[in-house]
């Protein structure tokens, strides 16, 4: 049986994730000697307090954010792909990311367009998070209500995409009315960033993602059944409507909160489930869910390391890195599958 192989694979991935996580702490635009980093992490006091602060206050929260965001987004993507029976579904499909972007756009751009006080230009951490969450929740509620009326998932998918498209258009209009400063701030937010999740925020992000992932374990059985289609799932004893609602709830909470804290992070939700399916050779969500968690965490940590481009002055947007690594991987996975 492949259980042995899967277990080994899991262990290997976990080790890789640990390495990637630690790499985020070791590497950054400032070079800090390995020994010093270890000393700080193991609780020793080092002489250079600046370095200590950089590691604990700047790199550590960012590393945790990447770890948990990667896990959450991947699980969210897995659920989306199963729910919609669509291999290119991701957290963005339901328009959740657009909703979060809309909330932030209103906060940053519209305020500028209406000539509101410059203080609103200051991107207060919680201000943005609240705005993004409100936007994501608003869209989620729309989709939620729709899912009561429509049982056809394709219809919900299309509506989600159309809402997303409409929102993007409104954001563009707001952009044309806002000042350069506000525009720049909005664009910078849309690049996504793990490392600038604040220390005060990281606790909430970790808590929400943990709850979401635990919830998703509980959803393994319904998700497995949904693979068979609604009719077979129903005849196997699944209560379709409440099951779907719970899945939409779980995925929205994960995707929405992560986007609120880290900005829109592309491709992770889409690519990681495919990689997991290909590596573990199973469709069983009991295995895929933890696989996605570990794989997603690992990939995001690695992308974060790349984004901080250690040794050079250039900051690369995380969003770009995840897309650049995600896209070829998905293509490779699909080609490999079709060849067999």
């Amino acid at each position: 049986m492949t259980t042995g192989r899967n277990t080994l694979l899991f262990i290997a991935l976990s080790i890789l994730t640990l390495i990637a996580f630690v790499a985020q702490l070791l590497l950054g635009s400032v070079q800090i000697p390995f020994g010093q980093v270890v000393a700080v992490l193991t609780g020793h006091h080092i002489q250079n307090e600046t370095w200590s602060n950089i590691i604990l206050q700047s790199r550590l929260p960012g590393a945790l954010a990447a770890l948990f965001a990667g896990a959450g987004l991947s699980v969210s993507g897995l659920q989306m792909q199963t729910l919609f029976r669509n291999p290119v579904a991701g957290p963005f499909v339901l328009g959740i990311s657009s909703g979060a972007s809309f909330g932030v756009a209103v906060f940053i751009l519209a305020a500028s367009a209406f000539g509101l006080a410059p203080q609103t230009h200051i991107i207060s951490g919680w201000g943005i998070i609240m705005a993004a969450s409100s936007g994501a929740v608003a869209i989620f509620l729309v989709i939620f209500v729709l899912s009561f009326r429509l049982s056809d998932v394709v219809a919900i998918l299309i509506i989600g995409l159309m809402i997303g498209g409409g929102i993007n258009a409104v954001i563009e209009i707001m952009q044309s009315f806002s000042s350069n400063e506000a525009l720049k701030n909005y664009v910078l937010w849309s690049f996504g960033s793990f490392r600038y999740v604040d220390i005060s925020q990281i606790f909430y992000l970790v808590a929400i993602v943990t709850i979401g992932c635990v919830f998703s374990f509980y959803l393994s059985k319904p998700l497995n059944l949904l693979l068979l289609g609604d009719t077979y799932a129903s005849s196997s004893g699944l209560n379709i409507r409440p099951a779907k609602i719970m899945i939409v709830l779980c995925t929205s909470i994960l995707a929405g909160s992560i986007t609120a804290f880290c900005g829109p992070i592309g491709f992770v939700g889409l690519a990681v489930p495919h990689i997991a399916r290909s590596l573990f050779k199973t469709a069983d969500h009991k295995i895929l869910t933890p696989a996605c968690i570990v794989l997603g965490a690992c990939i995001c940590c690695l992308c974060n390391v790349l984004a901080s481009s250690p040794g050079s002055d250039y900051i690369l947007p995380v969003n770009a890195i995840t897309s650049l690594t995600g896209a070829p991987v998905v293509i490779w996975v699909i080609l490999k599958q079709k060849k067999v």
Binding site: F217, Y218, S220, K221, N224, L225, L227, L228, G229, T231, Y232, S234, S235, S236, G237, L238, N239, I240, R277, K281, T282, A283, D284, K286, Q337
Partner: protein
């Protein structure tokens, strides 16, 4: 013991498509459902399976009104095989069959020894030992059908409903499937209801015939002396 009294089927109060349905079935019955295209065979099967409500009349399975019980409970009494194609990547035949154990597994869906035993049994009955480790979407049509039936069988229900299980299969596969279904109904004492257009095969295997006539009446014909003629007559086929 499945029985129906003056049942009507359809899609809501205004859209009744067939009425006056009376039938009875016991363990060991292999029942063929016949009728022209569009008469409502699939609707009837779906209604019996509990997938959609009946629009009138009564129906009972082992003294239970299956339309009034929750899906999880119903799943222990009725299993189905449909015409819709399953398209799942990366699932092995064994894993697919294991999904049939859903009504009996816990919230995580973990399989215990009983489940494992049952899966083994089913694989043996369906004669698909060689297929169990292969990926489902790489099987031939006949093999896929066997796997899907195996999943339904694994659900261990007294009643199994199949919608055109032998359509699109070649002659040999058809015979094989019908043989297996026959043995399931007789050896395992299950009630099997299936719809088909292959009247000959139906006449050969089934011991009961349900016919939805073009005039809108429902006839149940048992395998007595004159059954062949009766069936043909009900189907308005002049021999």
């Amino acid at each position: 013991m499945l029985s129906a009294e003056n049942m009507s089927i359809g899609y809501g109060a205004g859209k009744q498509i067939f009425s006056g349905i009376n039938f009875s079935a016991v363990a060991g019955d292999m029942i063929g459902l016949l009728g022209v295209n569009g008469i409502g065979k699939s609707t009837l099967l779906r209604t019996i399976a509990g997938l959609q409500p009946r629009t009138g009349g009564n129906m009972q399975l082992n003294n239970l009104d299956i339309h009034a019980i929750p899906a999880a409970e119903r799943a222990k009494h009725i299993s189905i095989v449909l015409t819709e194609r399953l398209a799942i990547d990366n699932i092995t035949v064994r894993d697919l069959i294991a999904l049939g154990r859903t009504p009996y597994t816990g919230w995580l869906g973990k399989l215990n020894d009983t489940d494992g035993q049952e899966i083994e049994n089913v694989i043996r009955v369906m004669k698909i030992e060689k297929l169990q480790a292969r990926l489902f979407n790489q099987l031939s049509d006949g093999e896929k059908q066997k796997a899907v039936i195996a999943r339904a069988l694994c659900q261990q229900t007294p009643l199994m409903i199949l919608d055109e299980p032998t359509a699109f299969l070649d002659f040999r596969n058809k015979r094989e499937i019908l043989d297996i279904l026959k043995s399931i109904s007789t050896d395992l004492q299950k009630t099997i209801i299936f719809s088909t257009h292959d009247i000959e095969a139906c006449l050969q295997y089934c011991n009961k015939f349900w016919i939805m006539t073009e005039t809108g009446t429902f006839r149940q014909i048992k395998r007595n002396e004159n059954y062949r003629a009766e069936v043909m007559e009900a189907l308005s086929i002049t021999v």
